[in-house]
Structures are given as C-alpha cells and as structure tokens.
Symmetry: D2
Subunit: 379 residues, 4 copies
C-alpha cells in the first residue's frame, strides 16, 4: 500500500533542525507506518545558510520568511526549531493556517505565551506535539511502562539532574546563533527552560503532577558580551537552578540543573524510589537502565544494569540485534514514529501542546520562587 505523504515545513536549521530532519528521513526505513514525511521546505532568514541546509538534507525548496512558509498549500505540518521567543507567533499563525504544529521544547518562554499556543492549535483542531525527546529514549520508556504497571508500589522519591559545563568561561557571549540560550529575551530563562524542563517533563510523565515547589536560582557570570552588538550586557538567565517539590502522589521531588558542573557534558540523570523497587537512568549511558527489585531473594538482590537492546524492549525490535546500542538521535526518530502513528490511529501522541504547557507552568514557578525564596503552588 502506498504511504500517505506528510509534507514538512521546517523553520530553523540549527542543531535541532538537523536532529528533526534526521528523524523524518530515517523513520520510514525502520518503522512501517501509513505516513511518510516529505521534506518539502526549509525556512531561515539567512538565504545561503538555509540553502546549504536544504541541500544537505534534501529539502525540496526553501523560504526565508516563516510567514510565507505558513501560507503554502503544499505544507501539512510546520516544525518549529527556532529560539523560544519565536514559538508563539509561528505556532499560532501555523495553526490558524490549518497546519499541524510540531514545536521544540519548551513550548514557549512562559505560560502566557504557551497558553496562546494551546488555544490556537485546539481551536484549529490540528495535530500538535512538543519535542520532549527524552521520553522516547527506550530506557526511559521502559521505566514509564514498569512504573505504570504499579510494580514499584508507593513512590517516595523522584530526583533528577541535568548538568553541563559549557558556559563556565565568561568569554562565552549571549545572543547569536549558538548562544541564544544565554539571552533571556530569546530563551525566556536559562537552565530552567533549557534543561530542567526536560527533567520536569519526564518526572510528571512518570510520576504525575507536581503540587508545589521552592527553588534556588543563581547567575554565576553576571555580565556577558552580546554576540550581535558586541556590547557587554547584564545576564538575565539562571545559570543554575535547584528545586524541591511535592508531587500530588505524596512523593518528594528534587531537581538540579547547571551549566557550571565541570566535567559533565549532558548528564541528565533520573531516579525514582518506590516501596518495592527503584530505577535509575543516565543520558551519557542512555541504553542502560539500573533497576533494583526488592522482591528478589536476599543474597542475590542488587542493582541490575539492563542493556536496553533486546527485541522486547520498547522500539528496539525495529533496529538491530541484542547488544547493539542506539544513540541520542534515535529518540527523535521514535517521536516521529509515534506522531505518525497518532495521525493514523487518531490517538494523539503525548506530549501535546496542552500537556507540555504543564511543564512550563512548573518552570515559571521555579523562576518566580528562585526570586522570592518562597514555596509556590503550581497551577
């Protein structure tokens, strides 16, 4: 049976533009789905830049203004891979034009912008998704499945960290292509929206809603040069953030993120402790899950390192053979596979804009509590 094309209009061609394009191109080689993404158009303000990108990835055409892209009849879905400050305008316009919208995380700079986006896609009735890609790392999906089965019993603790070290030097600028994440205008926040948002999304997916929290935020380097103007400006983002929280289920949450943890590149770790068992996971060794099963007889009890490469593990039956590992980029392929599956079945893939907005509410509370030092309800 011939596959239905899904014509993609990509906005942005940086790191995330590449990760998503790769996912669109690969999904059909491994997953047998009704829909086949077609790389219809890539859009970016710099014509040479977007042209080179389009050539490298096989996009059929280019645009230099997202407003033109959104108007095109031959585009089914808009994928937003540009800095956070542009999400709201592009997403609402795309929805209005009847396009599906896939948006990089976080959904927007803050809850207010995110709410507009939720309204827009829901009013338009278009499929939508936010790319919290770590949900689709098979090891993380496995944890979600086992926790959902109830096997861990009552949950006591959930903790997660996302540690990096790339902004320790005061010579790293803010703003600009690779460093807009340091500019509060473009990003909305620092590590909170960029890194903690992943931790929060996974946490609430696995362990349910967060009720309230208190946060500590810090800006270690107070002034940085602007990559565009070259002027030294105050740094408005949070360089580091820690959060203590209560989940609705009575368990305690502890989160930390920083770009000043020398030696850690992208160390996203999570752990959940339940009455009958615990899980740990770590992005640097993403094919492994650590699992403690308290029901095992005493002498042989311990932490089991599961190499998540068997055919019965989530998504793995589509890839290679046991023992052969996947990498970072496969999480995006799985996201696309599930999105396309959702189109076919009518059961939308998670997280939708509405679901992803919950994470941004938590992030807003983190930033606010980081200033006031007070416990805040998340709502």
């Amino acid at each position: 049976m011939a596959k239905k094309p899904l014509n993609i209009g990509m906005v942005g061609y940086g790191f995330m533009g590449r990760a998503h394009s790769n996912a669109y191109r690969r999904v059909g080689n491994f997953f047998d789905l009704d829909y086949q993404p077609v790389l219809k158009a890539a859009c970016g303000r710099n014509k040479d830049g977007v042209k080179a990108f389009a050539d490298m990835w096989g996009y059929e055409s280019i645009e230099t203004d997202w407003k033109d892209l959104v108007k095109r009849d031959d585009i089914d879905a808009i994928d937003i891979c540009v800095p956070n400050d542009l999400h709201v305008d592009i997403a609402t316009a795309a929805a209005k034009a009847g396009k599906m919208v896939l948006c990089e995380k976080p959904i927007a700079r803050d809850t207010r912008e995110g709410e507009k986006m939720v309204k827009a896609v829901e009013k338009a009735g278009v499929a939508n998704m936010v790319w919290y890609n770590y949900r689709w790392v098979p090891a993380v999906t496995l944890i979600k499945q086992i926790v959902d089965s109830g096997r861990l019993g009552r949950i006591f603790h959930y903790r997660a960290n996302f540690l990096q070290d790339w902004t320790i030097s005061p010579d790293v600028p803010q703003g600009g292509a690779g460093t807009w994440r340091l500019d509060v205008e473009a990003a909305g926040s620092g590590v909170t929206g960029d890194l903690l948002a992943h931790c929060i999304d996974t946490a609430m997916w696995i362990n349910g809603p967060i009720k309230n929290l208190t946060a500590m935020t810090e800006t270690f380097v107070k002034k940085r040069k602007d990559a565009g103007s070259g002027k030294v400006k105050d740094v408005g983002i949070d360089d580091a953030a820690a959060v203590m929280a209560h989940f609705d289920n009575g368990s305690l949450g502890l989160f930390e993120s920083t770009r000043y943890a020398r030696g850690h590149k992208a160390l996203y770790t999570l752990e959940i402790n339940g009455e009958h068992g615990s899980f740990k996971w770590d992005l640097h060794d993403l094919n492994r899950v650590e699992w403690f099963d308290h029901s095992v007889e005493g002498q042989l009890r311990g932490w089991t390192s599961i190499l998540v490469t068997d055919g019965e593990h989530p998504y793995l039956g589509k890839w290679w053979v046991p023992g052969l590992t996947l990498g970072y980029e496969h999480s995006f392929v799985h996201a696309v596979a599930d999105f396309l599956e959702g189109l076919a079945t009518g059961k939308p893939v998670s997280p939708t804009f509405r679901e992803a907005l919950e994470t941004t509410k938590v992030c807003d509370a983190i930033i606010k509590s980081g200033k006031s030092g007070r416990w805040l309800d998340v709502k």
Copy 2:
C-alpha cells in the same frame, strides 16, 4: 621507647562501641605513635550485655553506671557511644572530671545541648573530638587536600546525598536498642542528625561555612510502635530531608537524605564542581575517587577513577600494597591515629566539639526550615 598508655572508658556497646573499640585495638599495629590506647573499662546499663562485650573486646573491667565510670582515676578518656539524648550529661560530667571526651556524632540533639558541651570541655581544657568518621576515609581526605591546594579554582557547586532504605516497612518500631534513631526523644531528629550531619560536616570541612539554607522534610510513616512499651506513638523524626543552601564562598549546596530510597544501603555520595576540576566520591566504593581534570588535553579528558590504595595516598602507606583495599572501619582507626597524634603534638585533631557544633547549627536550621518553609541564616 615505651608508649604512653591512654586509658579508655567506653560508654555504650552497640554498633559504634564496636567500631571505636576496633579502632583502639588496631591503631598501634599500623601506626607508630607515642600513645597506645588501653581498653580500661566498658560501661552499659545491662550488666550481662556489657560483660559479654568487654570479654569480646578485651576491656579490663566493666561499669553499669556512667557516673561511676567518670569518677574512676584510672580512666584518661571517655568515649560516648550512646544515644544522642545522653551526650550532654555524660560529656559535661566527664569534662568536669578532667577526662578527655570523644563523642559520637552528632555532638548532641541540638545546638543548645552542644553549646553546653563545648563550654564544658573548653573550660576543663580537655582534649575532645566528635567522630565524623568519613573525614578519615582516605579518598575523602585526598579530596580535602586537593581542594585546599586551590587546584579547582572557584567553586560553583557542592552536592551530597545519604540514602538508605531500612525503615520503609511500617513494622520497624521506634525506640529500643537498634531503633532509637527513629525516636525523636532519643535522637533529636531523624535523617538530619543521623545522616545529613555527615554530609554537612564533610561539606563544610571541604568547602567552608554554609551561610543560609531552606529545607524540605517529610515523615512518610506517621505512627510506629514503641519498642519498649509496645504502644503505637506518633513519629517525631524526619524520614527524609532535602536542603538547598548557599556557602560563604558563593557556591550552591544541595543535600538530600532519606531512609526510603529502595536499593540504597548507606549510599553517601558527594560531589564538588570547580572551575578547573571536579571530584565525586561514594561510600559504597569508598576506596575510589572520581576526578575530572579540565587541564588535560581535550581528546583524553574525562573522569579518572583513582583507586586510593597507593603508598602516597593519605594513610595508605601504613596498610598493605597498591590495589589492596580498605573497608568502612579503617576510617575510625585513622581518627584515633590522628587524635593520638594530636595529643603528642598539642595540635588538636579536627573536628573538636566547637567545630562539630557548627554542623549541629546547620541541622537545627534544617529542621526549623523544614517546618516553616523559609530560608534561614545559619548562625
């Protein structure tokens, strides 16, 4: 040259009584010191119990009332290994009687009691020490030495956890021999004084004073049977605690402790992140330090797992040969060695009562903030 005897009067004969006795007996076989501990007397309320203990360890005599022990002329030093509520009375009486005092940690149930103890030993002018034994794990001592050398540059983060899982069952009682740590009257607090106190002590030893903090505490099991009376009583201790803090040096602290982390037995982990390097350590693999040296050329940079068993590592020259590891109990042997060295040199070993009191001030702030939800200065 003949060694000077140091006559020990031990109060208590539980887990810590054994760990300390072992240290006294072994130190002279490995460390060549001016003083030699002599196990003069063991004291405990249960005569049969203390007799059996004395026989096992070679104590020359027994007492059943610590007041009698403190009066004896043939005792040089009183070692306090009983529940926290007894520390203040024994320590002040011992000091008054002119005895040196070695006290298990935490110094007392709270700052107020601890202050009395500090005054007592300082007024009496007797040698004193609190057994924060993890300082004497060679791997931890090594971290302290390198951090003190300034090699890490500006410090950004310090984080530590102490995770256990032995009180998850609601059938564990409070009070009694093995479970007084669950009884707030005996212990003063729960994980804060028992476990976090270790994390705080090491943290301030390595990274300097804590300025302020905010804490989250939780009691998961609200009622437990009293081991003595058999009656069900409210649980007054903190089952779990998390802390966010600022150090005086501008770095951020994050601490967590619980007895509800299924799978972890005594998982004390610590990490410090500086501008030029980072260290990690973990009590379950106590002979190892993880070290990241940013100055190494790029391609070969990474986390180095140092097996702390070489002759040039702290304390290791006294033991076996490279590759052969030490265990938990060796930390106590090193503590005694340093205490005796301090007697010989007149340079008192750290932590003294006064130094250990600082940790209890932090613990008091944790408990208080856990109730109010507010940031508190430590003073």
Copy 3:
C-alpha cells in the same frame, strides 16, 4: 558543486543489508563529500522479500539473481551482504565486470577463497573494502591514533574478547536465514570468522601483525537441526575459541570468543597495555574509552573514562554536541564516508581486500591449531 553519484547494487537484504543501506542513506546528511551514494538496486533470491526491502529503503529497482545485477551498466559498486560461501563468486564476477566491491567480513570462508578475491579486484583495479566496521567506532579510532603516536611506549599485552550467548539452546537450528552462521558450509567457521575476526582485525590494525599462535576450539552442542531440511546434522562450527599469540612487536596476544557466555549479548572488549599507558574499550558502552596515563602525578593517577563525544574526537565534529552519544550503526556511516573520501583522494580506505585477507589467514590458523593443539606460524 553537484555531487557525483555512486550507484550501489546491494546483494542481500538481511541484517547487514539494512546496516549498509542505512549508512549509504545517511552519510550525505552529515559528511560533505564529493560522492553521493545512490541506492540503485537491491538483489535477493526471494522476490517478495527483496521488493519489501527495496521499498523500505528506497532502492530504485530489484534483481533476483546477482549475476544480472553484476551485468548492469548503471551500477558502480557491488555491496556483498550474503553468507560467506557466496562472497568469492560474487566478488570475482563483480570485479571482472569492473565494479567496485564492498564486502561484509570476513572476506571469505578461508584464505584460499580470499586470495582469489584479492587477485580479482587487484587485476581489475577496482576500489574495494571489507566492512570491519568496529574500526570506525570513534572510540576505537581514537585508540588507534594515540597508539600510533607512540605514546604508550613498548607494548606488552593485547587482549580481546567477543562474547555472546544466543546459541546456548540446542533448539537453535543451523542453516537458514537467521542461523546460517551455525552452518559450517555457509559460514566457513563459527565464532572464529564471525566474532574473533573482528578482534583480530582491530588487533592487527592497532598493534601490528601476529606472528604465531595456538588455539583451543570447542563445539558444545554437537548436533542441530537444519533449518531448511529439518534433519538433525552434525555441527561443524566452533562454538567457542581461545587464542594465545605473539605479535611481531614482541607483545603477547590473548583472544577469546564464544556464543555460550550467558549474559553477554555482543560484548566485544579490547585492551592494550604499554609501558606508559593502557587503553580499554567495550562495545556495549561504545562511546567510552578507558585510558590509563602513567605520566600523571601519583596521587591523581587512575583510569580515565573518556566520553568520546567532543568535536575534536574522530568523526564527532560531524554529529551532535558534547555528551550526546552515537550508536552501533554510526560505525558503518563512517566506513562509507571514508570509502567515498578514498575515491575522491585516490588514497584507498583500509581495510582493502588484501589487508582483510591477513585476518582470514589468522582465522585459518586458529581453526587449524584448534584441531592439532600446536603452535602455528601465521603466513
């Protein structure tokens, strides 16, 4: 500049057919090269099977007889992904027809067949390569580069294992699509050609030629059903093999492979010990290298775990950002990139057929010594 197409004719559509196809399709998205592989034709005896494969991967056409494929004018290169017994005929015919030949490892069932293939491609003067893909795992490439720099000094030891557990059950058949590796007619040997061949190839690449060896081989399950006929037949392959060897440089080699090591899926590990340093690597954690640098000052010396994901690591500048890992399949992408680079520069990529034949000579000696129990020179 437009890229030159390289029209691929793929023979076989099993596991390796997929791995290679994936490499051809992806290389141009990440590596900017003069040549662009084009998936021109896929060939297999089962028409429905090869049709489904061609649809999944975007091959433009199919063939059911490799002789027809070899004759086609629109094919530049033949890629051989079928059982080992077919390598010699296809490769020699392809070379004769002037096609480049890329052949799965081992080059053939034995040295005699391999020699024919070497002669054929050299006589035809066509580009050729054998897919010893683990050379292109960036961590392994890094080891090769550092060893070549001389930094390790005199080499004393090289050891490697390749451990699996998938044939422990006597119910696994021999012959057939997924199990031809157990049929000595199709495979030529068991673990020796399938797994040890990888270890030997990497070893000689990094540490130079093997001079002589003695081997122990074993067939644990003596009879298995034939997947085709259903008849029980003697098993002719080696289920396990161990090898002791001398390298030309005076170092000692120790190798082991088995499919009966319960718990190991594809555990290819290697280690090299030199005077000044050592390396270890493990396929299950393929993004890491363990490195011991004896020149580091004593107290901080240890094994460094290098996460090979930085831009300066081999091939990594083409992928994501530090901390984000690659998987098994990327090794094939790098192989294609280097093959295409070799076409452009005229400097053939290694291992050519001639180079890969050296590994098969060692494998033949292993099988022979496994029978005689004698030391054999490799020649």
Copy 4:
C-alpha cells in the same frame, strides 16, 4: 566459657606476616569461637627487625632461627610467611615436631617439595592449611555457594586474570626483601606461583579439577640486578603467563597473569558462565559480585551488582551493617575463623596441604607447557 588458647609461632615478618598477625588479633573480636589465637613468638633472621615487628603486634617473644621456634613446647602452630624456597624445610620440621602448620601460598616452589610437605603433615596428623585467602572474600564465597547449589546448570566457561604493573621498570631488582618474588630460586616461578596460583585455586574450588592445559609464558625483562650482591643476573621467572585449559566438567578455562599490565595494581578478576546464569568478581571492588540470572523475565534481565554487605551474606553477619564494606585483610580473618572452627569441629578447613598441592601441580604444568608449547595433562 573460657577460650582455649592457640599459641602461634610466626615465621617471617613481612607483608604476609602482618596480614596473618592482624587476622589472629582480630578474629576473636568478631567471631565467637572456642579457640583464641595467642601471639606467642615471632621469628626472623634479623633480630632488630623481628623485635620491632613483635613490639608492633604484641608477640610475647622472638626467635632468630626457625629451628629453635619449632622446638619450643609452648607453640601449637607454626605459620610460614617466608619465601617459597623455605616452605618445605620449615613445614616438614614443624610437622615432625607435632605442630599444626599454616603455610602461605603457594604451598612450595614445585610439586616435589609440596608432596614432601603433604606427607609430613599427614604422617604427623597435624592440622594444616594453605592461605589461599581469596576464597574467604565473602563475594567469592557467595559465588562458590550458588555454583554448588547447581543453579547455573551446565558450565561452559571459566576465566580469570590477575594483572599487575609493578615490575615494568628494569630497575626493579631481583632477590631481597621486597623483591624475592622476581628471583626464581626463592620463588620457584614468577606470576604463575604468585598470582595465577590464586586464580587456579579459586577456579578448581568453584569449578572442579583441571584436566589439561597449554600455556604461553614470557620474560619481558631478561636481566635484573640482584638486590643482595648487586650483580646483574639472568631473570629466571615468568613475567607473564596465559593458559588455555579444559576442566573435568567439560568447560573451558582461560587464565592470564602479568606484572606488565600498566594501570592494574592487583586486578584479580574471575568469571564463570553457566547455562542459566553467570558470575563476575573483581578484587579491586571486592565487596561486589556481578550476577546474571537468565530466569528473570526478559525486559528486566541484566547484570545485577550485588553489594555483599548484608547480614545474610557469608561472614557479613559478624561485621557491620548493610552498605558498610570490608577490605582486603578481612579475607585472612575469615580464614583464621574457619581454621579455628575446624579445630573445634574436627572438620578440617579447606584448602589443606593436600588440596593446595593440586594447584601447584597445575602451576608446574603451566611452566612446563610454557617451555614446550604442548598440551599437558595435569596429574
């Protein structure tokens, strides 16, 4: 009940003299046994040296000639901690004098000497033991117990390594106090008797007798200065050895030892692969066992890291609490505990001289095969 004294006469006061003395002194503090070792006399040729040792460890007296020690009526057991060439004379004389004999491993330089020793102790009917101390590491004991239970099913593979790096420098002398292990006259062999002997002993204890083997041995540094005379002499020991073997039970053995594996200090690792499960262990992390249980449901199957510190683990109930680790020296304490238990019950502890002789037979075959390159039966 008063304990029966067991008066120890220690011959030698080097590294092993310290390890054994420590075991004698500590055993009674942790194990409640009928017998109590008494450190009666220490013997060594250097009077000042042995005096200092005796003072440090509390030996009641000293001797400078082992013949005088053996004659003394107040000695029950002779412990031999001197170089291997002295074992046979001391052990036979001690047995003749009716003393129990505890001898460091290997039992002797070769089988011939060992046989004399076996005859001597059996003729005299005295208790005897060889200190293959790694049997008493609780993690190793646990492996033995589970394998004995049959839980692993048919065994396919046993492999063990003992890797060090302390003799890489050609400046290390042979002969003398710390370096007699490099002198073939004193030691009998190099790594084979010193290190491989441990691997072989554990292997046969866990996996049964070795039937035949072939070995590769190497001397990397051919000449070294004699520590005594200062003259450069040929090196007669094996610097490195590898062994391939068949066990009686049909499984394959692979062993390697060297003192030229840069970065490894005392890396004794072992692994056993059975039909239903596998174990791994490593001396550098001696409190852990890695266990693979194939019977676990597929998705959650993996290698379990067991922290062997629970009360139900072998010997652990006598020590601290879960999570708190033991070190190298504890293996000797357990050996003494079992030896004393054997005296009380009349069931001799293993390995006796007779049992330990089997390991030396294997070692002799290794040395012999290392020269001839032939497979040899062990007999």
